[in-house]
């Protein structure tokens, strides 16, 4: 599904050049659950942003479902992202002014799904996340765990082929964190490819494979050993 060849990313800040990613080669198959780990500043989030098409590499090739993303225009990348990729963030990134329902509905509006269809799909996914009873609430009226469940619902509603999760349990306590990881595992089992950036070995243990980064380079790729029940 994803093929990265020699992907590099350089940042220029105040005349200092920083290499965030250095000739990274990664292949991810459809249906995989992959964790990316590494210390702060190793390039995990940069990699995730490039995978999610919200950032572009400085060099290298990126094929998504065999399509050459690296030679696409911003508009083409935007369409590809809208139709295939969704995000879950550590800080949830829900819009405070929108209700739970409206937050989840957002990606469907931008993919021009009809209102009646949108209602059906939002209710389905909220049901699935067990958040239907909170659909009229606003983010600030929810607990952290509930907010992340809404964020997952939002990520799911467009039935994406790929979900990118950036430390999805980072702002949650262990109970809520466990719950979120179980949801992600369940989604993966249903066929969604998931790539997750995490600091937590426990969270990584939910995935099939863990890629470790250090100073912008892949230093190891291992099958994961389950630490959870």
């Amino acid at each position: 599904m994803i093929q990265l060849n020699e992907i590099s990313k350089l940042f220029l800040t105040e005349e200092i050049e920083t290499t965030a990613l250095n000739k990274v080669n990664i292949t991810i198959k459809k249906g995989e659950f992959v964790s990316i780990m590494g210390p702060s500043g190793c390039g995990k989030s940069t990699l995730l942003n490039i995978l999610g098409l919200i950032d572009t590499p400085s060099s290298g090739e990126y094929h998504f479902n065999e399509a050459p993303v690296h030679s696409m225009s911003e508009k083409q990348r935007s369409v590809l992202r809208k139709m295939n990729i969704s995000f879950i963030f550590q800080s949830f990134n829900l819009i405070d002014e929108l209700s739970v329902f409206e937050n989840v509905e957002l990606p469907l509006i931008y993919t021009k799904v009809k209102a009646s269809e949108r209602k059906k799909r939002v209710e389905e996914v909220l049901e699935k996340m067990n958040m239907m009873h909170r659909k009229s609430h606003f983010p600030q009226q929810l607990s952290g765990g509930q907010q992340q469940r809404v964020a997952i619902a939002r990520a799911l509603v467009n039935k994406p082929a790929l979900i990118l999760a950036d430390e999805p349990t980072g702002n949650l306590d262990s109970v809520n964190g466990e719950e979120v990881m179980e949801q992600l595992t369940k989604l993966n089992a249903e066929g969604t490819t998931i790539i997750m950036v995490t600091h937590s070995s426990r969270d990584a243990s939910f995935s099939d494979r863990t890629i470790k980064l250090l100073d912008g380079k892949v230093i190891s790729e291992n099958q994961t050993v389950a630490l959870h029940a």
């Binding site: 919200i54 950032d55 809208k82 990134n93 957002l106």
Partner: protein
């Protein structure tokens, strides 16, 4: 404490530099516009108040209403001045007349030099007792004797340079020689009329051998000075009896006299035959409303931006509260800040006004200066104004910001503070409403002015050159002079007339058939010469035009318009042959011509009589202008040839000419000036509102950066972000459009009702205003939404 408040105010200014600058500039421009208007308005109210007796000086005016003629004259017959003073010595201290021979320009000859003078009047010597006219040379008895003249210092300079003017001789209109016996200070600009040359009116008696005793002819502007304890109403009560005992029996039932206080003439007098064009109080009120609107817009900007940028001050306020500051202390802090900024804006605005004054003075034809506002303790009023303004601007943000609970700010995300304010929407809505009213008003004034310019007056005013001939030798050589004019290449037609057609007219007395033969009937009349209707392309509806072939026409023929036919209750055919005799003539109606506008479009078309005047002397006196219809674009050649002929016939007098389309355009000078001022200040108000909008939208887009980043990640395109950002403002623009229409429609209809011919108020001004507001919002939102879309969502989403 105050020092710390100011220090924090300055630091906050630096921190939010863009918004603070927008705020300050908007406020300064708004205040500048207000100061200009205040300067103009104060100046308008100063007119004629420099006379120490201004409250006791009144102008005697006359009203005549008779069978279709409705005359509100600012002038009186010759004998009124003396008679009224003699009749009521217990009330009137003194009286004087101003008479210009009903000619607005005179020729002054000094040896072989010839000048044209438009500020010339014959006056009674009492003029110096009534008005404050400081004498520089000579004395206030200068005009006691006939053939005496007094000059203003600038006129003396113009005519005699550095030579001593006293004792010099000036010949007026190549007739009477006057001796200069006094020099007076120039009349201040704030006078409802100006005079540079005064001559003794007793000269007329000396030349004629008797006074002019007509109680019908009313060419004298008559001013009286009431006694110190006398009241105007006491005299007004006696005026009907005065009319009854002095005016002719035939007309006294139709005439009434009134009094106008000197101070009120400039703004409130709009009579026939005004001594000089006046301003209108309506325009002053409109400008005051505009000033208030601009101030409101500028203040709303300040309030909006202050509360919007308060997000960054939440922690400061909370910490001050935690550390023991009372709410009152915090309110005082905010008020000190707002007052500081309003004073700074006020200072900037004075600089702006100082630089804008030459342009503004040129625009409004005044000599305004800032010193008029700041001298004589005026600065104190501005200090108070700054304080009041500071409190008004600061009180809402102060109350709003100091009401928040510190724990809420310290625990929660205080950057969201002030993000969604209904009050702010309300204020922005008020701004849009106010600027829309100004835009709609400006558009209506412009359309009305354009309408008056382009209206079909019923005669052809284009390609007509007008030459002033009154008081010149040409009046006696009319036929010879016009015959030569007709020989000039491209001159199509030539005629003579009493007034410039379309600008003014007079009322003359007639005995029409079927009306009381014992009474004179006054009708709007124009004394004309042959070829009048053909020169102006006015068609005859029934009967015939004057014709040189009918040699008796001058004594026996008269033309009337259709409105006069209706007034008399005849049909056009019935009118032909009816008797319509003038003072000495035996005229009958020979033709009915189509109605045309013979005064400005402020007035309806009234009945009109065209008469050739029965005597040679009468024709000479009343033929004041010659109209030349031409068919050439080579105007310099035409003017040169006319001037050559003129000089040959007038012993080298300067030619005084104009073009009729320009003369008529000048009738709407007031509307034009109002239109230009309204447009100028409306544009300024839009600019100020725009500055506020730019500030507000940039601030809101800064706050919405994260939300837009999230939306972008989940698929939002640039157009989605644009729609979201503009939705809030476009809604407000539409609501404001409805409100502004509801407020402005009755006001505009009221203003338009002053015109006999006005535009029909349609949707165009409203649509234009709405579109302009939408355009402004769209442009600002477009720029910001594009910037938002281009900004990197990773930064706003990830790091907060």
């Amino acid at each position: 404490m105050f020092r710390q408040y100011l220090k924090i105010a300055l630091r906050n200014f630096r921190k939010n530099l863009l918004y603070s600058l927008l705020n300050l500039v908007g406020l300064a421009i708004g205040l500048g516009a207000c100061i200009l208007i205040v300067l103009y308005v104060l100046n308008e109210y100063k007119y004629d108040k420099y006379h120490s007796n201004s409250e006791r000086i009144y102008r005697v005016v006359g009203h005549l209403e008779m069978d279709g003629a409705d005359e509100n004259a600012s002038s009186c017959p010759f004998p009124v001045s003396k008679a009224i003073k003699e009749a009521y010595p217990e009330l009137i201290e003194s009286s004087t007349r101003f008479f210009n021979g009903q000619v607005d320009e005179h020729t002054l000859r000094i040896e072989d030099q010839v000048f044209t003078e438009s500020k010339y009047f014959m006056v009674d010597s009492t003029v110096f007792d009534i008005f404050d006219i400081p004498i520089i040379q000579g004395d206030s008895n200068a005009l006691d004797k006939p053939m005496s003249m007094a000059l203003s210092s600038s006129a003396a300079k113009k005519y005699f340079g550095d030579a001593n003017p006293i004792g010099q001789i000036i010949q007026v209109d190549d007739q009477v020689k006057f001796e200069v016996r006094a020099i007076f200070e120039d009349i201040p600009a704030q006078s409802h009329f100006r005079f540079d040359v005064l001559t003794s009116i007793s000269t007329i008696r000396k030349l004629r051998g008797s006074e002019i005793n007509s109680w019908v002819w009313n060419p004298c502007w008559t001013y009286i000075l009431l006694k110190e304890n006398a009241k105007a109403w006491q005299l007004e009560e006696k005026l009907p009896a005065f009319v009854s005992s002095h005016f002719f029996d035939a007309e006294k039932d139709n005439i009434s006299l009134g009094l106008q206080n000197l101070e009120s003439i400039h703004l409130y007098s709009d009579l026939d035959f005004e001594i000089a064009p006046n301003s209108k109080a309506t325009y002053v009120y409109i400008l005051l409303v505009i000033a208030t609107f601009i101030l409101l817009i500028a203040l709303i900007n300040y309030i909006n931006l202050t509360t919007a940028t308060a997000a960054g001050r939440g922690r400061e306020i909370a910490m001050r509260k935690v550390l023991g500051s009372s709410r009152t202390q915090l309110i005082v802090q905010f008020l000190v800040e707002s007052t500081f900024w309003t004073f700074l804006a006020l200072l900037f605005s004075f600089c702006l006004v100082e630089n804008a004054l030459p342009f503004f003075n040129n625009l409004v034809d005044r000599s305004l200066s800032l010193s008029q506002l700041l001298s004589d303790g005026g600065w104190l009023i501005w200090v108070l104004f700054g304080l009041v303004l500071g409190v008004i601007a600061g009180i809402y943000p102060a109350l709003l910001l100091t009401a928040i609970r510190p724990i809420k700010i310290l625990k929660e995300n205080f950057s969201d503070f002030g993000k969604n304010s209904k009050a702010r929407k309300l204020l922005v809505g008020i701004q849009f409403t106010v600027s829309s009213i100004l835009l709609i008003g400006t558009a209506v004034v412009y359309f009305q002015w354009q309408h008056m310019q382009q209206s079909d007056l019923g005669f052809n005013k284009e390609s007509v050159m007008v030459v002033k001939i009154s008081q010149s030798p040409v009046v006696r050589k009319y036929k010879a002079f016009t015959a030569e004019l007709k020989n000039i290449k491209d001159v199509e037609s030539v005629t003579g007339m009493e007034y410039i057609l379309g600008t003014d007219h007079n009322n003359h007395e007639f005995h029409p058939e079927g009306r009381d033969p014992e009474k004179w009937h006054f009708f709007p009349t124009m004394i004309v010469r042959h070829h009048f209707l053909t020169t102006f392309n006015v068609p005859i509806v029934t009967g015939r035009d004057y014709s040189p072939e009918h040699t008796s026409d001058e004594m026996e023929a008269i033309l009337i318009n259709e409105a006069m036919v209706r007034q008399m209750g005849w049909t056009n055919e019935e009118a032909l042959g009816k008797r319509f005799s003038s003072l000495q003539g035996q005229e009958k109606i020979v033709g009915v011509f189509k109605d045309f506008n013979f005064t400005s479009l402020h007035n309806e078309i009234k009945p009109l009589v065209l008469n050739m005047k029965e005597t040679e002397g009468g024709r000479a006196f009343f033929t004041r202008y010659i109209a030349i219809r031409f068919n050439t674009s080579d105007l310099p050649r035409l003017i040169e040839e006319v001037e050559g002929l003129w000089k040959a016939h007038t012993n080298n007098r300067p030619l005084s000419y104009s073009f009729m389309d320009e003369d008529i355009e000048s009738l709407y000078e007031g509307e034009k000036k109002l239109g230009v001022l309204a447009a100028l200040f409306s544009l300024l108000s839009i600019l100020i509102a725009l500055l506020g909008l730019v500030g507000l939208i940039s601030f809101l887009s800064e706050q919405k950066k994260k939300e837009m980043g999230i939306r972008k990640v989940f698929g939002a395109e640039w157009i989605d972000i644009f729609k979201l950002m503009s939705k809030e403002f476009i809604g407000l623009v539409f609501i404001s459009a409805v409100l502004s229409a509801a407020i402005s429609i009755p006001l505009i209809n009221d203003w338009l009702s002053q015109f006999a011919e006005s535009i029909t108020l349609d949707y165009l001004p409203f649509v234009l205003s709405l579109l302009l507001n939408i355009l402004v919002v769209m442009i600002v939102v477009l720029i910001h939404s594009y910037q938002l879309f281009r900004s990197d969502p990773i930064k706003v989403i990830k790091y907060e």
